[in-house]
Amino acid sequence: MSFEAIELNAARICDGLRKIGYTPPTAITDIVDNSVQSDAKNIYIKAQAIVQSDSRRDNVKSYLIIDDGYGMDSDGIKDALTLGASDQNYDPDSLSKFGLGLKSAAFSQGEQLEVVSSNGNSPFQKYIVSLPEVRKRNEYGASKAELSQKDKNLISDYLPDKRGTIIRIAKIRANNHPSIRSTFKELSTKIGIIYYYMMSDNSVKMFLVDIDGKKLECKPFDVLFTDEAENNGDLDENSWDGRQTMWVERKREITLDPAENIKAQIEVTQLPHPPTFEENQAKIRQQYMIGAKNYGYYVYRNKRLLSWAETFDIIPRDQDLYSFRGRILIDSTADEVFNIDVKKSQLYPSEEARNAINDLADKHKRKSSKAWQNAGAILKRKQSQNPNNKSNEIIDTIDIPEELSSHPLVAEDYPEVEKRQADLEKREKKRAQEIAKINYTEDPKLSQSAPTNLDDMTDEQIEKGVLTGEIQHDDRIHHVSNTEDNCLWEPFYFNGRDCVRINKLHRFSRVVYEDNKNNSSLIILFNLFLLHASVAEYFVLRKTKTKYPVGEIEEILAEYRRITTDYLANLCREAGDSLPKD
C-alpha cells in the first residue's frame, strides 16, 4: 500500500474557515482567548472606523486586540499563524482547542490578519496573512512586514513593558457589517460573563476602547448571582415570593461518563420574579437579564464560557422558567463527551452526558417553574386575583347551613349532636398536633423554628405548624403537602370551622392546579367541591341518625376517600396526556 500526499487548496480552505458562523463579538472573543492564555494582565479591544461614527453599519476599518501577555518571537508568530497551530504549548486547561481560532475568527471578519508581537527579549516583529494574496498564489503563507507608525504608537500607548501582542483584523468586509456601537454593546455585556472567573479573581482586566480612544473597563458578571443566593439560602418553591435570588441546586458534581469517570460541576439559582416588582419589573428584568434568550445552563470550559443559556433540548421554551439559571463547569477532560465546534460556541453532549443532565434538570425545571407559579399566585393574592384566595372569599360570603331540610333534627337529638361535636373537636385537635409535628419535621425551612418538644406544643406553635406556605388564619381551604394516608383531601376542623386540606402533591391536584393553572373557574369550583365534601362528612359524623357506631362510620368515610384517591391516581396514570389542560 502506498501513500500519496494530496495537495490542499489553500484559498478554498481559508474561504471555508471564514464561514463557520462567527459574529464580530464571537470572533473577537475567540482571539481574546489567546490573550488570556498568554497570561495577559490587560487586554484592550479597539475598533477603528472608516468615518468617525460608531453607529453606522459597514463602517469598520479594523479590529485590534492588544494584550500585555508573554508575547511571541518570529517562530512563535509563525506557529500561531499556522493552520492547525501546534498543540505543544497547550496546557490541560487551555482555552484553545484546534489551533484554528485566530485564523478562522480573523478571516470571518476581514481580508487581512496582522500579528505584531514581542516576548520582551527581541524587538517587535510583524507578520501579515492576506487572503487576496493567498487566493492569488493558492498557497497559504504570511509576509514579514515593517512596523508602521500606527503600530509603534499602539505599542507605546498600550504595551509600556515592550512585551505583548497586537492582533489586527484589517480590510473588514462591508457586507452588512454591524456598527461598532452594537458590537461593543454586546461585548460590554458578554465579556464579563464569558471571562467571569478570570476577571473576578483579578488575574486579567479587559477594556473596550471606542473610536475616540475612551477606555471602558468590562466588569465580571455572575449570571447566577450566587452571592445573593448564598445570602438568601435554598429555594422553597412552595413559599418563594419572587423577591430574592435563591439556590435551586448548590454546586455539586455529576458524572458525565461513568466509563471514563468524567465529571462536571453543576449549580442552579432562581432569579427574582419580575412581575412581583410591578412597576419596577422592567428594571429587574434588565438587572438580572431575565428574558427568553437567557434562561438555561451556561456551560464553562476551563472557566471560559462556551455556551450561553444552553437548553440541550431538555429545557423547554416556557415563560415559567425565565428565572432559571444554571451553570455547568467542565474541563478539557470532558471534550470528548461534549463535542465542541471550532468556534467553541456550540456543544453537543454525548447521550450519556445528556441523560445525566436530563435527570437533574427534571428537578431544576420542576422547582423553578413551581416557584415562578407560586410567586405569581402570591402576586395574584395581593391583587385579589388568586383563585384559591377567591375560593376562600366566596365561602366567607355564604352561610353553610348547620341543618338540612332533608335531615331535620328535633330537640332530643341535640345532646347526642353536642356529644359527637365534643368528640370530634378532641380528635381534630390531636390531628392538628400531628399535622404540625409532621410539618415541623419534614419541612426544612419550618424545622429551623421547630419547638423543642414536638409532643407538647402550645396552641400558637400548633397553628404555626398547621398554617404552612400560603395558608392564612381565616382560610377554610388549605393546600398542603401531606394528608392522612396521602388522600387527595381530608376534612379538617380548625379555628372553630369545618375546613378542608387538599393534597397539592396528588397527581389529580397537579392536573387541576398546574396543568390548568390559567383556568380559575375550574380551580375555584374544585376547591369549593372538596370543601363541601368535607363539610358533608362532618355533617354525617355530627348529625346523621344511625344505628352504627360513629367510629365505624368515620372509618368507612376515610376508606371512601382513600379509594377515591387511588382511583383518581389511576385515572391520571392511565389517561395521562389525554386529560384536559390549559
Binding site: P258, A259, R366
Partner: protein, 153 residues
C-alpha cells in the same frame, strides 16, 4: 447444564407493600432503578419489565444497545419501603421521591464504582424528594447498595 440460584425472600409479596428495586448487570455495567407497589411485589413488576414492551428491556436497548437476552448476570436488589399508605397507595408521589433521590445519588457516583455503572433508568423529580423522611430512606437504600456493590455483594 447451567444452574441459577435465586434467593427471592418475600419480594413476591406486594400486599400492602411497596419497594424500591435496583436491577444491575456487572458484565454490561448497567443499573436500573425503579419503584413499585405491584400486588405481586418486585417479582410481579419484573414480569412487566421483561415482556416485549417492558421499560427495562426498552431502556437497555435504547440507552446501551443491549438485548435483554444477552444479559446473563442480572442481579436484583429489592428494598421494602415503610408500610404506610404514603408509600403503598396507588399515588406514587412518595415512592417517586425516594426513587429520584436513589437514582440521583447513583448517578453522582456511578463513575467511582468498581466496575462503573451506566444508569439506564429515567426518573422524574417528585416534590416529596425534599422531605426529610424520603431523603433518609433514599440515603439508607443508596448507601446500602453502594456498600454491597463495592464489597462484591
Amino acid at each position: 447444564m447451567s444452574v441459577t440460584f435465586l434467593s427471592i425472600g418475600d419480594c413476591f409479596n406486594g400486599s400492602g407493600r411497596a419497594y424500591i428495586y435496583i436491577l444491575f448487570s456487572k458484565k454490561f455495567n448497567l443499573a436500573y432503578i425503579g419503584e413499585t407497589n405491584d400486588r405481586n411485589g418486585v417479582l410481579g413488576r419484573l414480569i412487566g419489565h421483561v415482556n416485549k414492551t417492558g421499560t427495562f428491556r426498552k431502556q437497555i436497548f435504547q440507552r446501551r444497545g443491549i438485548l435483554l437476552e444477552e444479559i446473563s448476570d442480572l442481579v436484583l436488589f429489592a428494598y421494602l419501603l415503610p408500610q404506610e399508605s404514603n408509600y403503598t397507595s396507588e399515588e406514587k408521589v412518595y415512592r417517586r421521591g425516594v426513587e429520584y433521590l436513589v437514582q440521583e445519588r447513583l448517578r453522582e457516583i456511578c463513575g467511582d464504582l468498581s466496575p462503573f455503572l451506566y444508569i439506564v433508568s429515567y426518573v422524574q423529580y417528585s416534590d416529596t424528594a425534599s422531605f426529610r423522611s424520603t431523603s433518609k430512606i433514599a440515603t439508607l437504600i443508596s448507601e446500602n447498595f453502594i456498600e454491597r456493590y463495592n464489597n462484591k455483594l
